[in-house]
Subunit: 230 residues, 2 copies
Amino acid sequence: MLNKKKSAIVLVSGGMDSALTAAFAFKKYDLAFLHVNYGQKTEKRELQAFHDIAKYFGVKKKLIVDIGYLKKIGRSSLTDKKIKISKADIKSKKIPTSYVPFRNANILAIATSWAEVIKAEKIFIGAVEEDSSGYPDCRKKFFESYNKMINLGTKPDSKIEIVTPVIGFNKKEIVLKSFELNSPVHLTWSCYKNNDIACGVCDSCALRLRGFQQAGKKDPVSYKVIKNYL
Amino acid sequence: MLNKKKSAIVLVSGGMDSALTAAFAFKKYDLAFLHVNYGQKTEKRELQAFHDIAKYFGVKKKLIVDIGYLKKIGRSSLTDKKIKISKADIKSKKIPTSYVPFRNANILAIATSWAEVIKAEKIFIGAVEEDSSGYPDCRKKFFESYNKMINLGTKPDSKIEIVTPVIGFNKKEIVLKSFELNSPVHLTWSCYKNNDIACGVCDSCALRLRGFQQAGKKDPVSYKVIKNYL
């Protein structure tokens, strides 16, 4: 069978946003999945979600990259054992302790290197501007600037572009769209803290639960604690 | 003793260009050295040069990062055992086989993460536009674009800028300036192929030797073969 679809890389962390992003890309492209371990505390659980989601979409071309140096560089609660994962303060405008300095730029550089080798034309990333309040490298204008830099830093015949299909969504819209596009929400993992049952109280759990509550949907994942975030 | 100098990171590969770049930065900044292993064949020898150069400049703050994933992604003669290091064709305008896709973008992303943590204001990189014929991520306009991207992708109070003091130099000028600024040329390593005595025939050796020959200087490093490249 001839496959004439063009190739695209999807950054799949294992969370809900990246699974939905894969669902968007699935329609048009032949997919390759990239997962990055950066020494986060929930590394193993996220990797399992990555493989589950790849299986769901029938993706065989997978690359798992270890960038433990981000842990070495430190200063994020996601990677530094000395910093506690803070409880959610989802109304705060401050940059959260979970921020890994310049993480997306590192991950996208890897994706671009791979894209150049496998001749992928698009790199899909499930960044969300609104809900990622305060992460500077999650903003639309950051990705626009990154695309210009890619254009200048790759071979002239490479046409690689970062695509952010969920950038403008809030978590409620992510939830609704996930159901609409049959994204495998049940296979995803969002908790920053636990590897077995989601804690329900870290930033990431809180944002996810609020999204489901706003959308009037039930989250198929189990939680230790479910608060009302409405 | 109070040290009021501002902090800067220097990317030190171990080669002549990066040593000279360190010599430029040394005058004004408190230095931190970053070295990246990306699975290149001369990894160990370059790392030794890195430590020797750090000692020469009295730099104690060092970070060595392993990005073996570039080897996994492959397709460069510097990292892929299946591709032979080609003999120098320094007049060619084609992108050489030693090109590692998007390598500088990967390395600079790491440097920027580190700079944000240690509050360094500058990242010095010894990229050379002319002699690196055909490496798209060695060009001045690539670094200008990267700086804009950094500005958008880091915290608002971060003021990180990439500086390329030798970008406009040819190898002859690198050699002359190295002697002028007392850069430790004797401690550097440029050969892409060997770990003991430089081969003298790979792209990197050929460019280096031609530079010394044009400058009318003797290279303190030993070679297996020394051709006339004038």
